[in-house]
Symmetry: none
Subunit: 411 residues, 2 copies
């Protein structure tokens, strides 16, 4: 028997370094994780450099690598991925940007980079989409709200470049910057000109919006400016179903991860109540995953809360959330006809409060895997496993081969 | 807590193959090494191919790789590195050479390739520097004494190539060769012409030197010729402090290793009484290292004696020197705020009497490392460690990540 489907379960930032509060064990070592441990006992383990040894991955580059799209060949910056994550369909050559709604005063000083953490920006984004006009520059655009104060922008047109600066001064109390081309190339100058025009028009439109006038009356910061950064030109991603012959879906709270999924051609599955934090609807996410696996051949599931605890430097919270994750994973033990790979996209050590290049623990469970002697899913136990140490870009080939979908190379 | 500094301790040629005299254990397995073993127990171990599996490294290419300058991209021959090691500041494009002082007879036959192992050549080199004149060819040069009978030469000028042969017949009793261009390119011909002129003038000057006349009177071989080989054009090395954001130093007896260090921008630290042999001043070297780590962020320490014993094929001497090294390393156990990596640059098996491509044992000790179950620093124990098997070019990324100096790739 061979499994036919693949679940890639990314336990975002779950791995760590030894923490003094746990007697120099990691939160994953310290946590009580009976479900993951059972899966480890029945599966094969190893460690993985999602990009390469010692390379500190972003979540975006790491997920690209895990999906078999090595970032050194595919990654063109965060903008196009965030744009996809906000539901903009990025075509090759389009320029994508991350956007924050922000507040500026009459002098052009940025007084709040998140506009009082505004959250319901749909009407504002629709107004921008309808009223901003860049046609005199030959530029079309798409503008969409994201989660909270976030949004995304994409430009389409002839002769547009991505080497441009941002208007975000990166700190409050500083004056809004002008966009500048970072080279003397006409395409970068054209993009900078279009961005300056876009931001000016958007500011004028935003000031007239009833929502902002209400906010000001209430004493809230109005969202009267857009801060635009992370410019990147959309590249060519061979669609996932053509590359692997599998229909795939993505389930994740973070727009960055759903963006990566949709960029490579995965179908985005929305689940009510998922937040990417410890209060997320984990059970719903697992139910949605199991149900999606009835239709799709491949599901990328990202579970984010442990990463957040690592960024906060809170080892105790991280351990507790790992235990919550482990409980939520219980139904996966009954999944039939499915290979499951558990890994992280990167370590997020509490001592670092950011990603690190430490390898992540990898566990593959399902029909056909060679079972090793590892009986615990953690950084140290997995290092002794039968998969040894592999790179993220080889994970998909290994999984495809285990479901007999790899192509023979040679005769 | 995270360490801030890095000590890279290269135990030159320490690893080996099984030796019959130790019941088919290696000298490192047979040696009593309580300090290295304690560090192994407290750290994480693995094995490393300094260049790639099965590739037999030179000390120069191996050290370049360990410092994160992969030799396939950076190495342009030994000449420029030896020149740096002799204190010549090599600028990009200069041609560097290794030099031996030698003895020839009136017929031009090389009678001693090392001029009776002459050692005090400072006056001879100064005379060459002052009196040889290549200005008619538009070539400037720098000539410096190295250790013993060794010296180095560098050419600077327009249109100089490095594809030239040597005047060294490689054996005694053979006639001095003429330098030849190895291609028909004018730049290689110009270098060959300059070398022939240089060697002729140097020979004439050397014959007039009082030191040589005294040596002849004493019955010693006069240093009346220079054998020049290892031509290489200096390439561009991104300076270590710019590449890594760390101020680094190198402590080594061999000019080849200090040369590599200074080529990539490390500061050379001289220690009295270090010879690269078993009689070296090891305690002084360790003291200098600890003291240097107060000023520098990174120190490359090379300890050479075990390599020499391997080249001699003397397993017993190798084992004994390994025990001397282990004793000398004791003070490193008290080093605070410092990550220490122990490795070799290559194996030097006593059965081979030369370098081999066998992987070298790697041990990383310090705050933040994930401690594995290895409790012994040797070739076999380390192969079971949590680092598995990595390549030399990833050592610096791994170490930088452990001191939180790696750059995030992506978002």
């Amino acid at each position: 028997m061979t499994a036919e489907k693949i679940l890639l379960c990314v336990l975002d930032g779950i791995s760590d370094r030894p923490c003094p509060e746990f007697g120099y064990r990691t939160p994953l070592q310290a946590a009580h994780t009976p479900n993951l441990d059972t899966l480890a006992r029945e599966g094969i383990c190893g460690i993985m450099d999602t990009i390469a040894p010692g390379i500190r991955p972003g979540s975006d580059t790491a997920h690209l690598s895990l999906l078999g799209y090595p970032p050194e060949r595919y990654y063109t910056g965060r903008g196009p991925i965030e744009a996809e994550g906000c539901g903009i369909h990025m075509e090759r050559g389009m320029i994508g940007f991350r956007v924050n709604y922000a507040t500026i005063d009459d002098e052009g000083i940025v007084t709040d980079r998140r506009a009082g953490r505004i959250s319901d920006t749909g009407a504002l984004s629709r107004a921008i989409q309808e009223e901003v006009d860049l046609s005199s520059l030959g530029v079309e655009f798409v503008f969409r709200s994201g989660a909270g104060h976030r949004a995304a922008l994409a430009f389409r047109g002839e002769g547009l470049g991505a080497a441009v600066s941002s208007n975000d001064p990166k700190k409050e109390g500083a004056i809004l910057h002008r966009f500048e081309a970072l080279t003397s190339k006409p395409e970068d100058r054209k993009t900078a000109e279009a961005l300056n025009d876009f931001a000016r028009q958007a500011g004028e439109i935003l000031r007239e919006q009833p929502l902002n006038q209400e906010r000001e009356k209430r004493g809230d910061q109005p969202a009267n400016m857009v801060l635009i950064r992370g410019a990147g030109q959309m590249g060519h991603y061979e669609p996932f179903n053509e590359k692997y012959g599998m229909k795939g879906s993505v389930i994740a709270a973070a727009t960055l991860i759903t963006g990566i999924g949709t960029v490579v051609g995965l179908t985005r599955v929305d689940v009510q109540g998922i937040t990417g934090s410890a209060n997320t609807n984990l059970e719903g996410k697992i139910r949605a995953t199991i149900s999606e696996l009835e239709k799709a051949d491949f599901v990328l599931l990202n579970i984010k809360g442990a990463d957040e605890a690592g960024h906060d430097g809170n080892a105790q919270k991280k351990k507790e959330f790992i235990e919550v994750i482990d409980q939520a994973l219980a139904p996966l033990q009954d999944l039939e006809n499915c290979l499951i790979a558990f890994c992280a996209d990167h370590s997020t050590p509490c001592s670092v409060k950011d990603h690190s290049g430490d390898p992540v623990p990898l566990l593959i469970h399902g029909e056909g895997v060679r079972v090793d002697g590892v009986d615990r899913y953690d950084e140290i136990a997995c290092a002794g496993g039968g998969l040894h140490r592999i790179r993220g870009e080889y994970l998909m080939p290994v999984l495809l081969d285990l479901v007999n979908r790899s192509r023979k190379y040679g005769a």
